[in-house]
Assembly symmetry: C2
Homo-oligomer: 356 residues x 2
């Protein structure tokens, strides 16, 4: 073989062996807009955790450039930023887009709905993922679970709530669907920027504040100015969402799509577990340092009224929108089945070891 | 430039660009031994799910060859097979190796211990992973959570248990630590091969059988021959484990290590969620088709006796082994903190909506 042919053969061989690699090794830099600000605990950490998983698993072929809300200035506009392709990815909560895409909110939470593991079971085995995709598809988006806060507390109250009467005229910060329900029961629902919540509660401008749970409530300091911490009903789990621009997704090689998908899935589960851990730590600290802080549950008549009102509002939503009806029914039917199991397993167990 | 030089330059360029790829693209075939047999529901599906995640994310650079127990004939010998390098990976449960490595069992479950999300919080935020590694490291193994069954049921009983007296002389299949505790309370604990359990319960050779939960109990058919299904105390969660040979791990490039780690983590969480789903479906079906099937909880005096005995056996284990003491204390302290949070969140919520 002549030198020329040898060299040609070498080139050919090299090209053959590595041609696939040449495509696969391309680096993809994806821009992600997050609802949360820089250094945001748990929620922001989850975005960063996801990015790190994707980068490490892809050996740097995927790079995720995260813009917190102070960069893009649109914390509640992630849905638009991603569907219009200004960002490839978003990390946000579906229920912020109630105005544009009302049916998205059911993928974050429903009052009196499922607890976190039940919700994941619905997403992955009960048709939830398919319904979520049906809602987002017309906008050229893919959506995936993006992390769960776990069960949210009913809020911090300056006075005890012993009857439905005690809710009448009560000034409370509680947004969204829960706020609508509370309004129907006579609560004066107010909207106050997060930065002013502590001082409003301290001064009595509001009588109660609902935020998240111990992990995220602790840094807000509400336990210093209100003694009664009520168990919740309004967000028995709250799942945030990843949004992915469909065109971006389609351009990625199949292995990187899978790395992205699994990084999102793991980061979401991990956020649920981190929330559980940090709420345990924070609740322990609150009780230790603020002995006046007392855990309370709403009396049965309040729970019953909240529940009836919730069901009525959900019925109205279902009557006005076939897709809403489909999602609400799917969650309702799934809950009915899975809760029977939760009741004879974790619930029965937790009640039998009540002394813990 | 001459043709020869052009070609040489082309070869050089190709080699430069793709030299890294040449290393990274090497295929690694890892052999995995599983405790479970072929087509084993949930547990076996989890092994396969893990392998699929790893292969897809690595674009085939990782291949996992799974040998079920009928292949290697050592369902309870996975620990040895992997540490001696006959297999690279194992999928098994730590508590099967009580004889060789007694402290491993605490990473599967402890009676009256944590429920599944609490256990994951302990593994990932409460020092559990570090302790598990401390136990496995001397054997040249890495260990990772490998899937959770969720809360296990206390078993199928032919007659109701209304007092401690009813346990005396009762013939029951319940292995391991739970069996030791039951023995102390006068139960005649028997060991019967899985294939004979149904007929033993049917004929009354045993009075009760503890297996797992609805998802895995359903195919065994116990609900057809025993009416009383008791909530559990002995395995409030049960985490199975992946074992990885340390030498195999060290030989993998960093990105493939990360892919393996994340595939195991996701598959483990996914098994917990799948177990929740399938137990919901199976329990629903049992109740519908077998109206005699009744859910029961052990009376408080039985729970109290089981708990005191458990605590005494754990105290004895801790006194005899400093490492056991360290793991038991770590779980105990963590549970004490996290359970306070579970109690005011999921437990309070589940109790307030008791009608579900």
């Amino acid at each position: 073989m002549s030198l020329r042919n040898t060299l040609l053969a070498a080139v050919a061989a090299t090209v053959t062996v590595f041609s696939f690699s040449a495509v696969a090794q391309e680096t993809h830099t994806l821009r992600l807009a997050q609802t949360w600000g820089p250094n945001s605990p748990i929620l922001g950490e989850t975005t960063e955790h996801f990015a790190e998983l994707a980068e490490k698993m892809s050996d740097g072929r995927l790079r995720i450039r995260i813009d917190p809300s102070n960069k893009h200035k649109a914390p509640f506009g992630i849905f638009d930023l991603v569907r219009h392709g200004q960002y490839d990815l978003g990390h946000t909560a579906s229920y912020y887009y109630k105005g544009t895409i009302p049916n998205a909110m059911y993928f974050t939470t429903i009052p009196f709905g499922m607890i976190a593991p039940e919700m994941y079971a619905w997403f992955y085995h009960g048709g939830g993922m398919e319904l979520m995709q049906e809602v987002y598809e017309p906008y050229g988006l893919l959506s995936f679970p993006g992390g769960n806060t776990g069960n949210q507390m009913g809020g911090w109250f300056r006075e005890e709530i012993n009857s439905l009467e005690d809710l009448k005229g009560l000034k409370m910060r509680t947004p969204g669907f829960a706020g609508e329900v509370m309004s129907e029961l006579g609560v004066a629902v107010t909207n106050i920027p997060p930065g002013e919540l502590y001082s409003s509660l301290e001064r009595g401008t509001v009588d109660a504040v609902e935020w998240v749970g111990p992990a995220l409530d602790f840094p807000m300091g509400f336990h210093q100015v209100a003694d009664y911490y009520y168990s919740g009903w309004q967000e028995p789990n709250a799942e945030v969402q990843f949004l992915v621009n469909q065109d971006t997704w389609n351009e990625l090689p199949v292995d990187l799509q899978e790395i992205l998908r699994v990084a999102m899935r793991t980061a979401a589960y991990d956020m649920y577990i981190q929330s559980m851990h940090e709420s345990g730590v924070a609740w322990d600290r609150m009780k230790e340092n603020y002995p006046n802080v007392t855990h309370k549950v709403f009396p049965p008549e309040v729970i019953e009224a909240l529940r009836e009102t919730t069901n009525r509002l959900l019925r109205e939503a279902a009557e006005n929108d076939p897709m809403a009806a489909k999602i609400i029914k799917s969650q309702h039917d799934y809950l009915k089945q899975v809760r029977q199991w939760t009741n004879i397993s974790d619930k029965a167990y937790l009640n039998s070891v009540a002394g813990d």
